[in-house]
């Protein structure tokens, strides 16, 4: 498992690996929002938690295409399926490496972009906490979507349609946590619900992903 994680991270950081794709998208979206909304700092502060969460979610979605498709094309998935490593474990590792190369940079960049969106000072801690707890769920669900559509050429659109509804609970509770935090309200309830979704997803999704991947590999 460690070998697979190390290989995936190594590939992500080498040329053409796609590291930074999600991060760059996130930067562009959040930098453009103040331009499109106009110079109203109050309005920006109100929408900042939602915009940051939406940007992070779309950035995750953008990079899902690469999660399994590249390994499918060069035959690695076939060989992994015949390896002693269970497919469930392999897909957990794939989701983890996706989070490390996409989710974690977003979490770290979010406070910086919060400044550009005039996020209230009390919101930073909650924003980082909610993204840190929520984005692993996005990667785990994304691995499931990628496994479902891996056999389809250019299945990106189909995958987005399948995955987006599953992202909604994470988005609702994540953005709610950040919004309440920014308004100075108590945000522990949505944060706990968000954590519940994430841990449930991480525990169960690899089994669903492995089951559908076995079918797509047939």
């Amino acid at each position: 498992m460690i070998a697979l994680l190390r290989r995936d991270l190594m590939l992500a950081f080498r040329a053409g690996g796609g590291f930074g794709l999600g991060l760059a998208f996130f930067l562009i979206v959040t930098v453009l929002v103040p331009f499109s909304v106009g110079p109203q700092s109050d309005l920006l502060a109100t929408i900042a938690p939602g915009v940051l969460w939406l940007g992070a979610l779309l950035a995750c979605l953008l990079s899902l295409d690469r999660l399994l498709a590249l390994d499918f094309e060069d035959g690695t998935l076939d060989l992994l399926a015949t390896a002693p490593l269970p497919l469930e474990a392999a897909l957990s590792v794939k989701a983890l490496s996706h989070w490390l190369t996409t989710g974690l940079p977003l979490v770290l960049a979010a406070p910086l972009l919060g400044v550009m969106l005039n996020l209230a000072p009390s919101g930073y801690l909650w924003l980082v906490a909610s993204l840190g707890l929520g984005t692993p769920a996005l990667s785990a669900i994304g691995a499931f979507g990628a496994a479902l559509t891996v056999g389809i050429k250019r299945g990106g659109l189909l995958m987005s349609l399948l995955v987006l509804p599953l992202y909604v609970p994470t988005l609702i509770f994540g953005a709610e946590t950040a919004r309440r935090g920014a308004m100075g309200l108590d945000a522990t309830t949505p944060l706990i619900l968000l954590a519940g979704i994430t841990f449930g997803t991480i525990a169960l999704m690899p089994f669903a992903s492995a089951a559908v991947l076995r079918m797509t590999l047939r």
């Binding site: 460690i2 070998a3 697979l4 290989r7 190594m10 590939l11 080498r14 040329a15 053409g16 690996g17 094309e73 060069d74 035959g75 690695t76 076939d78 060989l79 992994l80 399926a81 015949t82 390896a83 002693p84 490593l85 079918m215 797509t216 590999l217 047939r218």
Partner: protein
């Protein structure tokens, strides 16, 4: 331990292609699969490797013993030859990749990125992967595609050494490898047309 296939029926895309296939591969021997294009060699091998379920029949001695090599080599263009091989060795719980590098004459290339290799060199690297799996049964689908004569000899030598160590090999190929092995023609096992309308779960996949 023997790889034994009994009365096996396999389907591709919901259509049965082979029916009643029966053969055995004993330790230290190889079996060459023959058959025209589309006869079902790849489907049969994928089934034995555990990548797809058979329609009916039994496969014995194939659990955790198979090293499969299909049409694609599973190489990463941005990793070096050595890194590619080390990755697969670690996945299969092995550590020593030197014999595989020597057997396929890859030592001079070991620090090159796999993406810069020629088709034949990539194929050699893909075949070298079998040696780092430590698995007894090699299931090979057209292993000699894009190999030159010298490389085919390297491959035949590697298979012979593997067999001498008590390993087994099941090889689908069209060329003569110069191996001392039995040949198994799958043409007579082609599924009858009447069976081809069998119900399938393909619509749900």
């Amino acid at each position: 331990m023997t790889l034994r296939v009994t009365d096996l029926a396999v389907a591709r895309g919901g259509v049965p292609v082979l029916d009643g296939v029966t053969f055995a591969v004993a330790p230290g021997t190889a079996l060459i699969l023959r058959g025209p294009n589309g006869a079902g060699k790849t489907t049969l091998l994928r089934c034995i490797a555990g990548l797809q379920p058979p329609l009916s029949g039994r496969i014995d001695g194939a659990e955790e013993t198979i090293a499969y090599a299909g049409h694609a080599d599973g190489l990463k263009a941005m990793l070096s030859v050595r890194e590619n091989l080390e990755f697969w060795a670690q996945v299969f719980g092995q550590t020593d990749i030197a014999p595989a590098l020597i057997a396929y004459d890859l030592e001079p290339l070991q620090n090159r990125l796999a993406g810069t290799l020629s088709a034949g060199q990539k194929r050699r690297l893909g075949l070298a992967r079998l040696m780092v799996t430590g698995r007894p049964v090699w299931v090979l689908d057209e292993p000699t595609v894009s190999l030159d004569v010298a490389a085919v000899e390297l491959f035949a030598a590697a298979v012979t050494a593997h067999l001498a160590g008590g390993g087994m090999a099941l090889i689908a190929t069209h060329i003569n490898l110069g191996l001392d092995a039995q040949t198994f023609d799958i043409t007579p096992f082609r599924a009858k047309l009447s069976q081809r309308s069998a119900a399938s779960d393909e619509a749900f996949l």
